[in-house]
Protein backbone atom coordinates (compact mmCIF):
# COMPACT_ATOMS: atom_id res chain seq x y z
CA UNK A 1 0.00 0.00 0.00
CA UNK A 2 1.30 3.44 -0.81
CA UNK A 3 0.38 6.88 0.39
CA UNK A 4 -0.36 9.44 -2.30
CA UNK A 5 2.25 12.17 -2.32
CA UNK A 6 4.74 10.04 -0.37
CA UNK A 7 6.16 7.40 -2.72
CA UNK A 8 8.67 6.10 -0.16
CA UNK A 9 6.23 5.72 2.72
CA UNK A 10 5.12 2.27 3.87
CA UNK A 11 2.00 3.08 5.92
CA UNK A 12 0.56 -0.44 6.13
CA UNK A 13 3.72 -2.26 7.23
CA UNK A 14 4.43 0.72 9.49
CA UNK A 15 1.04 0.35 11.15
CA UNK A 16 1.43 -3.44 11.48
CA UNK A 17 4.90 -2.98 12.94
CA UNK A 18 3.50 -0.42 15.36
CA UNK A 19 0.74 -2.78 16.47
CA UNK A 20 3.36 -5.48 17.18
CA UNK A 21 5.38 -2.98 19.23
CA UNK A 22 2.21 -2.03 21.10
CA UNK A 23 1.42 -5.70 21.80
CA UNK A 24 4.98 -6.23 23.04
CA UNK A 25 4.68 -3.27 25.41
CA UNK A 26 1.18 -4.39 26.49
CA UNK A 27 2.53 -7.86 27.31
CA UNK A 28 5.25 -6.31 29.47
CA UNK A 29 2.68 -4.08 31.20
CA UNK A 30 -0.12 -6.59 31.79
CA UNK A 31 2.00 -9.69 32.49
CA UNK A 32 4.96 -8.20 34.37
CA UNK A 33 3.53 -4.85 35.45
CA UNK A 34 6.41 -2.93 33.89
CA UNK A 35 7.21 -0.37 31.20
CA UNK A 36 8.85 -1.73 28.03
CA UNK A 37 11.42 1.05 27.78
CA UNK A 38 14.37 -0.15 25.74
CA UNK A 39 16.94 2.34 27.08
CA UNK A 40 16.06 1.50 30.68
CA UNK A 41 16.10 -2.25 30.06
CA UNK A 42 19.45 -2.05 28.19
CA UNK A 43 20.91 -0.02 31.08
CA UNK A 44 19.57 -2.56 33.58
CA UNK A 45 21.07 -5.42 31.54
CA UNK A 46 24.58 -3.97 31.86
CA UNK A 47 24.11 -3.33 35.58
CA UNK A 48 23.02 0.32 35.64
CA UNK A 49 19.88 1.48 37.38
CA UNK A 50 19.07 0.43 40.91
CA UNK A 51 15.77 -1.27 41.56
CA UNK A 52 13.34 -2.53 39.00
CA UNK A 53 13.16 -5.59 36.82
CA UNK A 54 15.46 -8.57 37.42
CA UNK A 55 18.68 -8.20 35.45
CA UNK A 56 18.16 -11.59 33.79
CA UNK A 57 14.71 -10.51 32.56
CA UNK A 58 16.18 -7.28 31.17
CA UNK A 59 18.69 -9.40 29.26
CA UNK A 60 15.93 -11.64 27.89
CA UNK A 61 14.05 -8.61 26.55
CA UNK A 62 17.21 -7.12 25.00
CA UNK A 63 18.16 -10.43 23.36
CA UNK A 64 14.63 -10.69 21.98
CA UNK A 65 15.02 -7.46 19.97
CA UNK A 66 17.56 -8.74 17.39
CA UNK A 67 15.89 -12.15 17.47
CA UNK A 68 12.55 -10.66 16.44
CA UNK A 69 14.22 -8.56 13.75
CA UNK A 70 15.96 -11.70 12.45
CA UNK A 71 12.64 -13.55 12.15
CA UNK A 72 11.18 -10.71 10.07
CA UNK A 73 14.34 -10.47 7.98
CA UNK A 74 14.30 -14.19 7.17
CA UNK A 75 10.56 -14.18 6.47
CA UNK A 76 10.77 -11.18 4.16
CA UNK A 77 13.99 -12.20 2.41
CA UNK A 78 16.11 -9.38 3.79
CA UNK A 79 15.54 -5.65 3.62
CA UNK A 80 17.20 -2.39 2.90
CA UNK A 81 19.09 -0.54 5.59
CA UNK A 82 21.61 2.27 5.28
CA UNK A 83 23.87 3.11 8.20
CA UNK A 84 26.11 6.08 8.93
CA UNK A 85 29.93 5.93 9.14
CA UNK A 86 31.57 4.46 12.27
CA UNK A 87 32.54 7.89 13.66
CA UNK A 88 29.02 9.26 13.13
CA UNK A 89 27.49 6.17 14.74
CA UNK A 90 29.82 6.51 17.74
CA UNK A 91 28.96 10.19 18.29
CA UNK A 92 25.24 9.51 17.89
CA UNK A 93 25.40 6.49 20.19
CA UNK A 94 27.12 8.49 22.94
CA UNK A 95 24.50 11.24 22.74
CA UNK A 96 21.67 8.69 22.77
CA UNK A 97 23.18 6.91 25.78
CA UNK A 98 23.73 10.11 27.79
CA UNK A 99 20.41 11.63 26.75
CA UNK A 100 18.27 8.61 27.54
CA UNK A 101 19.76 8.24 31.03
CA UNK A 102 19.38 11.94 31.89
CA UNK A 103 15.94 12.07 30.26
CA UNK A 104 14.77 8.77 31.82
CA UNK A 105 13.73 7.13 28.56
CA UNK A 106 13.61 6.97 24.80
CA UNK A 107 11.17 6.51 21.96
CA UNK A 108 9.70 3.36 23.52
CA UNK A 109 9.42 4.27 27.20
CA UNK A 110 8.39 7.89 26.70
CA UNK A 111 7.10 7.87 23.11
CA UNK A 112 4.97 4.72 23.21
CA UNK A 113 4.36 3.74 26.85
CA UNK A 114 4.30 7.19 28.43
CA UNK A 115 2.43 9.10 25.73
CA UNK A 116 -0.29 6.41 25.62
CA UNK A 117 -0.62 6.80 29.42
CA UNK A 118 -0.86 10.61 28.97
CA UNK A 119 2.13 11.09 31.28
CA UNK A 120 3.12 14.77 31.33
CA UNK A 121 6.82 13.93 31.63
CA UNK A 122 6.68 11.58 28.65
CA UNK A 123 4.69 13.98 26.47
CA UNK A 124 7.20 16.76 27.19
CA UNK A 125 10.18 14.44 26.62
CA UNK A 126 8.71 13.11 23.36
CA UNK A 127 7.95 16.61 22.05
CA UNK A 128 11.50 17.65 23.00
CA UNK A 129 13.32 14.80 21.26
CA UNK A 130 11.09 15.14 18.21
CA UNK A 131 11.93 18.84 17.94
CA UNK A 132 15.69 18.39 18.43
CA UNK A 133 15.72 15.39 16.08
CA UNK A 134 13.93 17.38 13.37
CA UNK A 135 16.22 20.38 13.97
CA UNK A 136 19.33 18.18 13.82
CA UNK A 137 18.36 16.71 10.44
CA UNK A 138 17.38 20.15 9.11
CA UNK A 139 20.68 21.74 10.22
CA UNK A 140 22.73 18.86 8.83
CA UNK A 141 20.88 19.06 5.52
CA UNK A 142 21.37 22.83 5.30
CA UNK A 143 25.13 22.30 5.67
CA UNK A 144 25.05 19.53 3.09
CA UNK A 145 26.10 16.89 5.64
CA UNK A 146 25.06 13.52 4.24
CA UNK A 147 25.57 10.72 6.72
CA UNK A 148 23.80 7.79 5.07
Amino acid sequence: MTLSGFPDAAPLSGLMGGVLIGLAAALMLLALGRIAGVSGLAAKAIGLGGSGIARSDAWMFVIGLPFGALVVMLASGGFQANFASPLTLAIAGLLVGIGTRLGSGCTSGHGVCGVSRLSARSIVATATFMVTGIATVAVMNSFGLEVL
Binding site: P11, G17, G18, A25, L48, G93, L148
Partner: protein, 139 residues
Protein backbone atom coordinates in the same frame (compact mmCIF):
# COMPACT_ATOMS: atom_id res chain seq x y z
CA UNK B 1 11.79 -18.47 34.77
CA UNK B 2 8.27 -17.52 33.76
CA UNK B 3 9.11 -13.81 33.84
CA UNK B 4 12.17 -14.51 31.68
CA UNK B 5 10.04 -16.17 29.01
CA UNK B 6 7.57 -13.27 29.05
CA UNK B 7 10.45 -10.79 28.73
CA UNK B 8 11.94 -12.72 25.82
CA UNK B 9 8.54 -12.89 24.11
CA UNK B 10 8.01 -9.16 24.59
CA UNK B 11 11.47 -8.31 23.26
CA UNK B 12 11.01 -10.60 20.27
CA UNK B 13 7.62 -9.10 19.39
CA UNK B 14 9.11 -5.64 19.86
CA UNK B 15 12.08 -6.37 17.59
CA UNK B 16 9.81 -7.90 14.94
CA UNK B 17 7.61 -4.80 15.04
CA UNK B 18 10.59 -2.48 14.66
CA UNK B 19 11.88 -4.43 11.66
CA UNK B 20 8.44 -4.76 10.03
CA UNK B 21 7.79 -1.05 10.55
CA UNK B 22 11.05 -0.15 8.82
CA UNK B 23 12.56 1.38 11.96
CA UNK B 24 15.76 -0.65 11.60
CA UNK B 25 16.58 1.38 8.48
CA UNK B 26 18.13 4.67 9.68
CA UNK B 27 17.36 6.27 6.31
CA UNK B 28 13.64 5.81 6.95
CA UNK B 29 13.86 7.26 10.46
CA UNK B 30 15.84 10.28 9.26
CA UNK B 31 13.30 10.60 6.44
CA UNK B 32 10.59 11.00 9.10
CA UNK B 33 12.56 13.70 10.88
CA UNK B 34 13.21 15.49 7.57
CA UNK B 35 9.91 17.40 7.59
CA UNK B 36 11.41 20.34 5.66
CA UNK B 37 12.72 18.05 2.91
CA UNK B 38 11.62 14.70 1.47
CA UNK B 39 9.34 13.71 4.36
CA UNK B 40 8.59 10.02 4.96
CA UNK B 41 5.59 9.70 7.33
CA UNK B 42 6.02 5.94 7.97
CA UNK B 43 7.25 6.39 11.56
CA UNK B 44 4.04 8.23 12.43
CA UNK B 45 2.09 5.08 11.49
CA UNK B 46 4.42 2.95 13.62
CA UNK B 47 4.02 5.27 16.61
CA UNK B 48 0.29 5.56 16.02
CA UNK B 49 -0.23 1.78 15.90
CA UNK B 50 1.83 1.24 19.04
CA UNK B 51 0.19 4.06 21.00
CA UNK B 52 -3.35 2.88 20.14
CA UNK B 53 -2.66 -0.66 21.37
CA UNK B 54 -0.94 0.63 24.51
CA UNK B 55 -3.72 3.12 25.24
CA UNK B 56 -6.09 0.13 25.34
CA UNK B 57 -3.70 -1.79 27.62
CA UNK B 58 -3.52 1.16 30.06
CA UNK B 59 -7.32 1.07 30.38
CA UNK B 60 -7.13 -2.54 31.57
CA UNK B 61 -4.55 -1.86 34.29
CA UNK B 62 -6.88 -0.20 36.85
CA UNK B 63 -9.10 -3.30 36.76
CA UNK B 64 -6.22 -5.60 37.66
CA UNK B 65 -5.12 -6.07 41.27
CA UNK B 66 -1.81 -7.58 40.19
CA UNK B 67 -0.14 -8.28 36.84
CA UNK B 68 -0.75 -11.69 35.25
CA UNK B 69 2.73 -13.03 35.96
CA UNK B 70 4.17 -10.80 38.70
CA UNK B 71 3.37 -9.84 42.27
CA UNK B 72 2.79 -6.13 41.72
CA UNK B 73 2.91 -3.26 39.24
CA UNK B 74 6.12 -1.22 39.05
CA UNK B 75 5.11 1.92 37.19
CA UNK B 76 6.69 5.39 37.06
CA UNK B 77 4.88 7.82 39.34
CA UNK B 78 6.85 11.04 38.82
CA UNK B 79 5.13 14.02 37.24
CA UNK B 80 7.73 16.77 37.76
CA UNK B 81 9.14 18.44 34.66
CA UNK B 82 12.84 18.95 35.36
CA UNK B 83 15.68 20.55 33.37
CA UNK B 84 17.36 17.14 33.44
CA UNK B 85 14.36 15.49 31.75
CA UNK B 86 14.17 18.13 29.03
CA UNK B 87 17.94 18.45 28.56
CA UNK B 88 18.35 14.68 28.38
CA UNK B 89 15.51 14.32 25.88
CA UNK B 90 17.04 17.15 23.80
CA UNK B 91 20.44 15.40 23.70
CA UNK B 92 18.79 12.10 22.84
CA UNK B 93 16.92 13.75 19.96
CA UNK B 94 20.16 15.19 18.56
CA UNK B 95 21.80 11.75 18.62
CA UNK B 96 18.65 10.22 17.09
CA UNK B 97 18.70 12.77 14.28
CA UNK B 98 22.42 12.40 13.55
CA UNK B 99 22.39 8.67 12.80
CA UNK B 100 18.68 7.80 12.58
CA UNK B 101 18.90 5.27 15.40
CA UNK B 102 17.38 5.07 18.86
CA UNK B 103 18.04 2.29 21.41
CA UNK B 104 15.51 -0.33 20.20
CA UNK B 105 16.33 -0.22 16.48
CA UNK B 106 20.05 0.06 17.28
CA UNK B 107 19.98 -3.21 19.23
CA UNK B 108 17.62 -4.94 16.77
CA UNK B 109 19.91 -3.93 13.87
CA UNK B 110 22.70 -6.09 15.34
CA UNK B 111 21.41 -8.87 13.06
CA UNK B 112 20.99 -6.58 10.03
CA UNK B 113 24.26 -4.65 9.95
CA UNK B 114 26.27 -6.13 12.85
CA UNK B 115 29.37 -3.94 12.63
CA UNK B 116 27.58 -0.61 12.34
CA UNK B 117 24.95 -1.48 14.95
CA UNK B 118 27.62 -2.72 17.39
CA UNK B 119 29.47 0.62 17.22
CA UNK B 120 26.25 2.50 17.95
CA UNK B 121 25.19 0.18 20.78
CA UNK B 122 28.64 0.15 22.46
CA UNK B 123 28.84 3.96 22.27
CA UNK B 124 25.31 4.17 23.73
CA UNK B 125 26.21 1.87 26.62
CA UNK B 126 29.38 3.90 27.19
CA UNK B 127 27.29 7.08 27.34
CA UNK B 128 24.91 5.46 29.82
CA UNK B 129 27.82 4.31 31.96
CA UNK B 130 29.36 7.79 31.80
CA UNK B 131 26.20 9.34 33.22
CA UNK B 132 26.30 6.83 36.06
CA UNK B 133 29.90 7.79 36.88
CA UNK B 134 29.18 11.52 36.87
CA UNK B 135 26.05 11.05 39.00
CA UNK B 136 27.95 8.73 41.32
CA UNK B 137 30.70 11.32 41.77
CA UNK B 138 28.16 14.00 42.67
CA UNK B 139 26.40 12.04 45.39
Amino acid sequence: MRTGIVSLASGTLFGAGLALGGMTDPARVRGFLDIFGDWDPTLAFVMGGAVIVMAAAWRVVPRMAVPLAAEQFHLPSRSDLTPQLIGGAALFGIGWGIAGLCPGPGIAALVIEPGAAAIFVLAMLAGMTGVRFVEGAKS
